[in-house]
């Protein structure tokens, strides 16, 4: 009877259980693929991704962690103080082209409309269409030019906007987000309404309260805010690209008779031998194998 056992016995039983969990972690690799290739990309958020405001690496970390069986290539092309026109004329070909030419699979350009230049929606559309022409057409210091460098393609994702430290979150930022949404429609890519997602879901309250999201003297979010921007971005992109937001689940039924049987190590091995399909504990022919990874998506 379980109720008569001492805590030490529970430890033993759960230690055996732990072996099952360990096997399930191995089984995880065999789960349905969310990614069918390496994730390549360049990321630009001006000063929201430079120096101490390290947004891009947190964003990239999602892909490196969620797609660990492949070598991904995600690099920043953010430049503090740069607006989208300067990104186009001074940085895009110089910093992005060598990366984009090195990829073996199509990649992304995630790019945040920022407040440099005090641009509004029409500016974002105008300069966005310039940036989004590359590859193959970049500004090379003289004019828009196709330098004839082969690439496997880049999908540009405008990232909306982020609230600023003002009572309404900044009408300019909202306007830039409107431009970003129009660009997304033009290029038929997912809409990332980052301003709306962050402002409505927390920043509007936080700004006049605890101020955990931000803002430092330059108006930049703190690390908590940058993490929030990463996660909301993934929330926005996940439906279109099948990016995981559920990283898996392990479910065990302690009360089942399988527990006692699993105390005998041979049952673990037997389950492995009988397994097929999505993982060693999916198969339940012997009434065992109640533990397993379950995909909730």
């Amino acid at each position: 009877m379980v109720s008569l056992m001492k805590p030490g016995i529970y430890n033993l039983r759960f230690t055996v259980y732990a072996a099952v969990v360990a096997f399930c972690l191995l089984a995880m690799a065999a789960r349905a693929e969310y990614f069918t290739n390496e994730i390549n990309g360049v990321f630009n958020a001006s000063s929201y991704d430079t120096a101490t405001h390290d947004w891009g690496n947190t964003f990239a970390c999602y892909f490196y962690c969620a797609n660990p069986t492949r070598t991904n290539h995600i690099y920043s092309w953010s430049r503090s103080g740069s607006n989208w026109n300067l990104d186009y004329t001074d940085q895009e070909e110089k910093w992005c082209l060598p990366f984009e030419a090195s990829w073996n699979a199509p990649g992304f350009d995630w790019i945040l409309p920022n407040d440099n230049g005090s641009f509004l929606s029409n500016d974002i559309i105008h300069y966005g269409t310039n940036i989004f022409a590359g590859p193959p057409v970049y500004y090379n210091g003289t004019g828009a030019t196709n330098e004839g460098i082969a690439t496997v393609g880049v999908t540009h994702i405008p990232m909306g906007g982020i609230p600023h430290d003002s009572a309404d979150g900044d009408s300019g930022a909202k306007s830039r987000q409107a431009g970003s949404e129009a660009l997304a429609g033009l290029y038929v890519v997912p809409t990332v309404a980052l301003w709306d997602m962050t402002w409505t879901n927390g920043v509007s309250t936080d700004r006049s309260g605890a101020r955990l999201f931000g803002f430092d003297p330059g108006g930049h979010p703190w690390q908590a805010g940058l993490l929030g921007m990463t996660l909301w971005s993934i929330v926005a992109l996940a439906p279109a690209y099948n990016y995981p937001t559920n990283f898996g689940s392990m479910v065990f039924n302690w009360g089942g008779s399988s527990v006692a049987k699993l105390l005998r190590g041979e049952w673990i091995e037997r389950e492995r031998k009988h397994s097929h399909g999505n993982g060693p504990f999916r198969h339940d022919a012997a009434g065992l194998g109640r533990a397993g990874w379950h995909d909730h998506q």
């Binding site: 805590p7 529970y10 430890n11 759960f14 230690t15 259980y17 732990a18 969990v21 360990a22 690799a29 969310y34 120096a51 101490t52 390290d54 891009g56 690496n57 970390c61 999602y62 490196y64 962690c65 969620a66 660990p68 069986t69 492949r70 070598t71 991904n72 290539h73 690099y75 920043s76 070909e93 082209l97 060598p98 090195s102 330098e147 004839g148 879901n201 605890a210 955990l212 999201f213 690390q223 908590a224 940058l226 993490l227 929030g228 996660l231 909301w232 929330v235 995981p244 937001t245 559920n246 990283f247 898996g248 689940s249 392990m250 479910v251 065990f252 039924n253 302690w254 009360g255 909730h296």
Partner: protein, 181 residues
């Protein structure tokens, strides 16, 4: 696969991103990575990963499912944190201050990182005026260097075998009546 890491003070790291889940509590539910154990005897349980205790939960909490997404203790968190750390290495950022190193030195792996890449890009594109294939060729070594960091990041992210153990916490010691002494 596993969720990404983020900044949590650990004696070395001083930045703290955990307040994200105070500002946006719904994110802690939207992203999930769950361990669920049903029908446990009533009590408190310690969950350990690779022998290191990471959380204490009740049987009710374990039955409902423990979302490990926001957990920042133990071996799996260390792995998530290391992926982020190596990504920052690739950009030439100090993992603590997040400030980049000077252009005169190489990255922590002894090869060029993003600081060196951008410096070489300025040299080749701006100073030397290279364009097209000549420019891409001139950047090839730095591209290869950046890929060294990609490999290191992938090595940190790759799935490894971790052992979970769940043990019931000892009940409180019995209280004896005075005549038992």
């Amino acid at each position: 696969m596993m969720p990404p890491g983020w900044d949590v003070p650990d004696g070395t790291i001083t930045n703290d991103a955990r307040a994200c889940f105070t500002v946006f509590p719904m994110l802690a539910q939207f992203f999930t990575w769950t361990l669920q154990v049903t029908n446990l005897p009533a009590g408190n349980y310690t969950v350990a990963i690779d022998g290191s205790n990471v959380v204490t939960l009740t049987d009710v909490q374990l039955a409902a499912g423990w979302n490990m997404f926001t957990n920042y203790n133990g071996a799996l968190w260390a792995q998530r944190k290391e992926v982020l750390g190596r990504k920052r290495d690739q950009e030439g950022l100090d993992r603590v201050t997040l400030v980049s190193h000077g252009g005169g030195s190489l990255g922590v792996l002894g090869t060029g990182d993003l600081v060196n890449y951008q410096g070489n890009a300025d040299l080749q594109y701006v100073t030397n005026g290279k364009r097209g294939s000549a420019y891409v060729s001139a950047m090839a070594t730095l591209i290869a260097d950046m890929q060294v960091y990609d490999n290191a990041i992938q090595a940190a992210a790759v799935q490894t075998n971790h052992v979970f153990s769940i043990s019931q916490n000892p009940p409180p010691p019995p209280v004896f009546a005075p005549f038992h002494r």
